[in-house]
């Protein structure tokens, strides 16, 4: 895919370059101008680079020769003449053809070779005069060094970096890290003798040098590669010392120690006994297992078991990892989606068969569906990473912010092993930060207030993650004073969101806090409390198809609970039908579906059609009007209405039929296809039909505007 995109860009670029070259070369014929000459050279140079990258190998090779010739002209080592101009122009023509010949197979090799001969002849003439000016590449002979019995090599590496290495943007520690990745350091020495006294120390200079012994499977070439950018102007010495190293005994020793540790861990021997045996082993050079048995600390069986365990541990360590491009995973998921589609197509065919055949086919399909589902879960799990590292970054943040507010707050983290989709983790970070900032600023009281309320002076914020019912929950809790419902109520009344004396559910009242411009703090804090933010937090969470709720208890604290789907690639969707078209509504946003009575539908000026559901009015949407399609029903009281909710606002959607619930693999749509906010993507159904996935949030905001 990348290759194609690069090819397309190159096609464009080469066209431009060739056109400029055409006119420049013609210009050279009449007036040899150094600037034009340089430009010609640069264009060919760029053409060469581009063709190489875009995979036009023939063009690359050809332009290489052309570039050599032009280089000589540019340096004034040969004069340009009419014959050469013709040759250059014919060369351009060939390049043009070769690039146009799509896959490069059909380009005219005979013409190319003839041109190349001519170009070489031109170069040859000059070179003959100059006599051997080109540099030959030295042949490199690679002799892989010997290894020990386990395929390991040992290198002694001394790296004394230049003092000024940082100024070249290179961090020596990174090089050391790269080195360590090749194997293990079995010896390591950091030389600090060049570090000057503090007053003459320049923090921009590197004073350390390193000396290590690296045990690795790789050849010395590979080790040199680590130093690729630095080895010619820094003092790097690499010696292969595999021969004079005696790895077997050392390795055996490490293994023996582990046996001891395993026995210790199992409680078979005590620490004193282990030390005793290890000491003795140093003198006698015997196997630890034998010693333990001979001393009567353990039975032979114990040692045997320990050996088995040791093998297991070794195997565990050897389990490799592979880094995979996430695009590949997405691709796999997409392909799996296609398989699911294929399955439901087969399942549909089964409906048309005789009962017996249909039963047998469907039975077979059930088994297959189970496997695909498991496959899907496994695939999803690859994209999952633990949230721990993302949580950890907030420690510093909490410390900094609380200090700036003269509060003492510590952050507690729970459930750091909870795994969720990498994309979700990346995108949840900002909303979390905002909620934490809010908790520090508004949630937790000042130390004085806390002391007065009999609480410990320092406050606590807890970040917690856990799995429940196929969702991930992330909580931000504080042990502060809680949210004052009266204040929220007062503010809501002031904004006209709720009437005086009207009953309102607690959860609903607290949801007001997420409305734009809603803030209860009388004092506007420096950090939060300008009423900007919580609505953004909620929007961000909803764009991840999640939701957020607040739980608060006076004097005890507040918890913001974020519910997120495990992944963004698949949703649980409800298929709905309008006329012949199928749409998908995310199950998450569906509240209920009803058949309204005639008197429940009203038209209000400036607000359009409204529908009354359980005493409340919600706007009514006719999908057939929005999408310009046919519908079976045109009166809401004759059709079904699905009530959906986003950000606490409800909406009624008029449909012809509820088709059924299904797991949907989302295919994103290019903005060129639609930039409608009402649609968040598409899916392919079992019968091959394409269904649009409705974005309730977008639908609402489109109606509101």
């Amino acid at each position: 895919m990348i290759d194609n995109a690069v090819r397309d860009v190159f096609l464009e670029e080469s066209k431009e370059l060739l056109d400029t070259l055409d006119s420049d070369i013609v210009r050279l014929e009449t007036s040899p101008d150094q600037d034009v000459m340089n430009r010609v050279f640069r264009s060919v140079h760029t053409l060469k680079g581009g063709s190489g990258i875009a995979g036009y190998d023939q063009v690359y090779e050809f332009t290489h020769g052309l570039e050599n010739l032009l280089d000589l002209v540019r340096k004034g080592e040969t004069q340009i003449n009419a014959a050469m101009i013709t040759l250059l122009l014919r060369s351009l023509d060939w390049i043009r053809q070769a690039v146009a010949a799509a896959d490069g197979e059909e380009c005219d090799i005979a013409v190319k070779e003839a041109l190349q001969r001519d170009i070489n002849a031109c170069i040859g003439e000059v070179s003959a005069v100059k006599a051997g000016g080109t540099h030959d590449e030295k042949p490199r002979i690679i002799v892989p060094g010997k290894t020990d019995a386990h395929g390991n090599r040992y290198y002694h590496i001394r790296c004394a970096f230049n003092e000024d290495i940082f100024l070249r943007g290179i961090d020596p520690l990174m090089i050391m890290e790269d080195l360590r990745r090749l194997g293990t350091f079995i010896q390591r020495k950091i030389n600090k003798k060049d570090v000057p006294n503090f007053d003459s120390l320049d923090p921009e200079k590197c004073y350390f040098s390193w000396e290590v012994v690296l045990k690795t499977e790789h050849t010395i070439e590979k080790v040199y590669e680590v130093f690729l950018f630095v080895h010619d102007d820094n003092d790097i010495v690499i010696r292969d010392i595999t021969e004079n190293y005696d790895p077997d005994s050392a390795d055996a020793r490490i293994a023996e120690k582990r046996i001891g540790e395993i026995l210790l861990g199992k409680g078979v021997i005590t620490e004193n006994e282990l030390n005793d045996v290890l000491n003795e082993q140093d003198q006698k050079n015997a196997k630890l297992g034998d010693l333990v048995v001979s001393k009567g600390y353990a039975t032979e069986k114990d040692v045997e078991h320990a050996l088995v365990d040791q093998e297991k541990i070794k195997k565990k360590i050897e389990t490799g990892t592979v880094r995979v491009d996430t695009a590949k995973l997405d691709n796999l998921l997409n392909l799996l989606g296609e398989i699911v589609i294929g399955q439901s197509a087969i399942s549909r065919l089964a409906d048309d068969m005789s009962e017996e055949q249909s039963f047998m086919l469907k039975n077979a399909l059930y088994g297959m569906e189970r496997t695909t589902r498991e496959f899907q879960e496994q695939l999803m799990s690859i994209r999952m990473i633990p949230i721990g590292p993302s949580f950890e970054q907030f420690r510093r943040f909490v410390r900094d912010v609380s200090h700036s507010l003269n509060k003492e707050i510590y952050l507690e983290i729970e459930g750091q092993d909870t795994e969720l989709d990498k994309t979700v983790i990346e995108r949840i970070s900002d909303p979390l930060k905002h909620m934490i900032r809010n908790a520090i600023d508004h949630g937790i009281e000042s130390p004085e207030t806390r002391a007065g309320a009999g609480k410990p002076k320092s406050g606590k914020i807890t970040l917690r993650a856990y799995h429940q019912e196929g969702n991930v929950f992330i909580e931000v809790s504080d042990d502060g004073g809680g949210i004052d419902r009266k204040e929220v109520r007062a503010k809501a009344e002031a904004l006209g969101l709720v009437k005086h004396g009207e009953e309102i559910a607690d959860a609903k009242l607290l949801q007001f806090l997420f409305l734009p411009g809603f803030s209860t703090t009388s004092q506007v804090g420096e950090l939060s409390g300008r009423g900007v933010g919580m609505d953004v937090v909620k929007n961000n969470i909803e764009s991840l198809r999640g939701s957020v709720e607040i739980e608060t208890r006076e004097k005890i604290g507040t918890t913001f609970r974020v519910k997120l789907p495990l992944t963004l690639a698949i949703i649980e969707g409800m298929l709905i039908r309008v006329g012949k078209s199928i749409f998908i509504l995310p199950m998450l946003s569906i509240v209920e579906s009803i058949r309204p009575r005639k008197e429940d539908v009203q038209t209000v000026e400036k607000k359009g059609e409204l529908i009354r559901v359980r005493g409340e009015y919600a706007p009514l949407v006719r999908l057939y009007e929005i999408f310009g399609i046919e519908s079976e029903h045109h009166n809401p009281w004759e059709s079904l209405v699905v009530i959906v909710e986003s950000a606490g606002v409800r909406l009624g959607i008029m449909i012809d039929e509820l088709v059924g619930q299904q797991q949907i693999v989302i295919k994103s749509l290019d903005t060129a296809i639609t930039n409608s906010r009402s649609v968040s993507g598409a899916a392919i159904l079992g019968n091959g039909q394409v269904a649009l996935i409705l974005d309730v949030h977008g639908l609402l905001s489109e109606i509101m505007s």
Binding site: I2, A5, V9, H45, T46, G49, L167, G169, F229
Partner: protein, 123 residues
Amino acid sequence: MRYIAIIDDSPTMRASVMLTLKPFGYNVLQAQHGAEGLDVIQKAIAEGHEIALAICDINMPVLDGIGFINEFRKFDKFTPILVLTTESEQATIQKGKQAGASGWLIKPFKPDELIQSVERLIR
């Protein structure tokens, strides 16, 4: 945000660098020559972004690679710079290093060679 800047007068080269790095999660800024590169980078820094690495061609119009490195190092001493060069320009590697380039990559390169060089310089 952390950005990698690619400064090259060839759109093909820019596209290839960008498309190669993107799937690895790198955000990429583009510029056509040294002067534009400095512009784009300084603008990004002024907006609070961070430049993790600059990748630059040597042979460019307006301000060439060496000129770019010299100017860049005037306001940023430590950010790594990866120079794109060709076999015919081997001598420029030395010049680049003197100016403060961190590493180099010979064109044409394969995607994994680019990734390797980038990861050799930044984490």
